[in-house]
Structure formats: structure tokens, C-alpha cells
């Protein structure tokens, strides 16, 4: 029993989150860019879009191409054969986003527009 081993404390804190059925919009340029990034791994790999703590406004967007985690807590959206996953815990934060790709040297790359965000920071990577 003690502070260092953490015994004797209460159970972990869980935050109730609203889970909604996610709808997203993906532009043609984003689809092309995803195809280039994923090459021929459509069957085994997926794009995970998530929201993490941080950034000027409270949350940061994160995108990862990863092996399909086959986790029932994700919602899958298929776009031209590419699987996009969003975790249920992020569903209310990311519902309605538009995924775009800008092919410019400055400020280019994948961009997310979030109509439900109350605020966004200047760089566009953080929202709240």
C-alpha cells in the first residue's frame, strides 16, 4: 500500500463522452493524396483521424496511416476504397469535418475544417 505503487487509490477516472454517428466530407484532392500515401495497402491499412489534448485551443488533430486495429470502438467510413477510422471517443468532436489537401509549399498538406469547433488557432491544427 503506498503512493509509489499507487495501491489504495480509487478507480481510474472516466469521462462520459457523447458518441454520435460520424459523417465526414473528403475532397477529391484529399482522396488523391491519401491514395499516394497508402500506395497498395488499402486492404490492410486505414487512416485514423483523431483528436488529442493540446494546441492553443485545447485539442489537436492527428492523422495516422496504420494497420487496421480491428477495434469495435472505431467507426469506419469508406471513401473510394480507403478506410477512414474515427474513435467513438472523438466522434462528437470530429463529426462533420471536411478533410482537404492543399498542394502548396507554405501551409500545404492535409487540412481539416471543423464546422462544430467553437474556436480554432491560427495554424489550423488546434480546435476547441
Amino acid at each position: 500500500m503506498g503512493l509509489l505503487d499507487g495501491s489504495g487509490f480509487s478507480l481510474p477516472v472516466f469521462e462520459e463522452v457523447e458518441v454520435v454517428k460520424v459523417k465526414i466530407n473528403v475532397t477529391d484532392s484529399a482522396i488523391d493524396a491519401m491514395k499516394k500515401s497508402m500506395q497498395d495497402d488499402y486492404d490492410t491499412h486505414v487512416l485514423v483521424i483523431s483528436a488529442e489534448a493540446g494546441g492553443c485551443s485545447g485539442y489537436l488533430y492527428d492523422m495516422k496511416i496504420t494497420e487496421n486495429p480491428n477495434d469495435k470502438d472505431f467507426q469506419r467510413i469508406d471513401v473510394n476504397g480507403i478506410g477512414i477510422l474515427i474513435h467513438n471517443k472523438d466522434s462528437s468532436l470530429l463529426n462533420g469535418i471536411e478533410l482537404d489537401y492543399k498542394d502548396t509549399l507554405m501551409g500545404g498538406g492535409f487540412q481539416i475544417k471543423n464546422p462544430t469547433a467553437e474556436r480554432e488557432c491560427g495554424c489550423g491544427q488546434s480546435f476547441g
Binding site: 503506498g2 488529442e52 492553443c56 470502438d73
Partner: protein
Amino acid sequence: MHLSKFLYPTGNYIISNNSKSILSGPGILEHLDKIITTKIIGCQINEIHDSIICHSNGRILDQLKIYILNNKAIIINNNVNGSEIRSQLVKGIPWNKKISVIDGDDGIISYRVVGSNITKILDYFGINIIELKGNMWKEYGNMIISLTIGTDYEILEILVPIEEKSSIEYIMAECNILESKIDNWDMMRIELGIVDYFDINNSIPFDVKLNHLVKLNKGCYPGQEIHARLESRGKINNTLVRLRANSNNNKKKFKIIDGGKIKIKSSYKSNEMVISLGIIPTKYENMHSIETVENISFLIEKLD
């Protein structure tokens, strides 16, 4: 300021009214780093890291003291915000990180020991005070012991599992350290310039002398955009000072005759004097006193 004015011969302790949370799992420092105003990545086990967590409008939600353990951190902040801080910590955990947040409020008691001879209790623990310098914590049995050093004071902070409350209080008594009432603690901390939650809550860090806990070169955190803008435009107009007034006026805001406002954050009364920590425009910080429209004269004491 002489501590002996307030203290039992060796020292006094207070049971701190704060909240304790335990963050555990791999990657906790990376997770915390995205939320707090300071750079915690790279800190070592056994270090204590002081920081702030802000709202996205740049105002302080709370000040944190973070004890770094192996894949674990104990986070101490004001008890008013325990649930909100834990909620913030839980909400943004990435889907692929196994990080958990535990409420330690009912499991840990936090003691603060102030005094002219606090090394007596360290001797009891067999700890040399040098071992606690440089923001390091030490363990004694199931306790975690650390030292906060200010200009005129040293405070021992002791975290104890609740089951050992009677043991630590027995040790305190053996060392001639007695419990202090909260009013005495407020008097002591205001005189020593130790800021508490109520002095900083909802303020911009630069206005309450917490500039050292804002690291604008660490990347984004909630409130960073506001802090960067204030800093780069030189819009740091206010500062926290100690104020003495010959008045029992309970007002929290005063208008300065020469322009600007005084915001009283916390106070204690001693005879006919009211001694406070308050925010004033920085341009008055080096003056001896300021006069207000309300006919009250405040003596100004700059905090280090």
C-alpha cells in the same frame, strides 16, 4: 519578515486543501506537455515540475506541482479544480495510449511544513536538506517529501497515504511542529509572498508574477497564442504586489487616482491593518504608496 512572529518554536504544519491526481502509463510526460505551459519532456524520475494549466483564453485554470515517478506522475493542484483538471487530463488521451487518471483525493493527504527549524523533521527521516534541493523529491517509507524554496522561506511538502496520517502527525509532534489554523497560514503566506490559487485564478500568468512558468518556445498549449501575443506586443501591464492599508474596507476593487485599478486577491486583517496580495498596474510597482478614489492609501511592497 520574521517567521518567528507566527511560528511555534520549531515550526508549524498545515494540511493543504489541495487536489491530488495520479496519471499513469507510458507517455504521460508527452501527454502532459501538450496541456501545460512548461516543457516537462526530458524531466527525470524524482523531479518535481511546477507548471500552469490555462484556458484557451490564456487565463490560469490552476497551478500544478507535478511529482514525476516511473511511468507515473502525482499532480497537485487546488481542490476547487480537482475534477476539472482530471477531466482535462482524461479528455485528450490519444486512442493508442494506455494512460489512466486516478482521483487521489481520498487516498493522499498533503502537509506543508514551515518553520525556523524544519530540518529537525528531515533529521528524523534521515534526509539531508541538500538532497531535496534542485526540485527533487525523496521517499521515506510511503511518504513523498519535497522542498519549496522562496526568497524568505523554505516549505516542506509531505504527501502521505491517508492510512499513515496518525504516524506523520506523531512524528510532527515529536519534532515540536504543531498544526496551524488556516487563518494563520493565510497570514504567513501573504507576509511571505506565497501565492495561492485565489491569487492567480483566472489571471494572465504575466500579471501574477508567473512569467517563469510560461515557456513560449516549447510549442502549442492551451492559451499559448494569447501569451505569445501579449509578450510580443509588450502588453504586460499588471503585476502582483503585497499591499497594506489602514482600513477594514472589504472591497475587492479600487480605482487609483492617477489611473488604473487595484484588484485585491487575498487578505488578512491584523489590528487595524489589512494586508493583501493584489494586482496593480506595473507602473506603480516601484512606488512607495498609491492613493485611491475611495480615499484609501495602500503601501506597496514588491514581491520577488
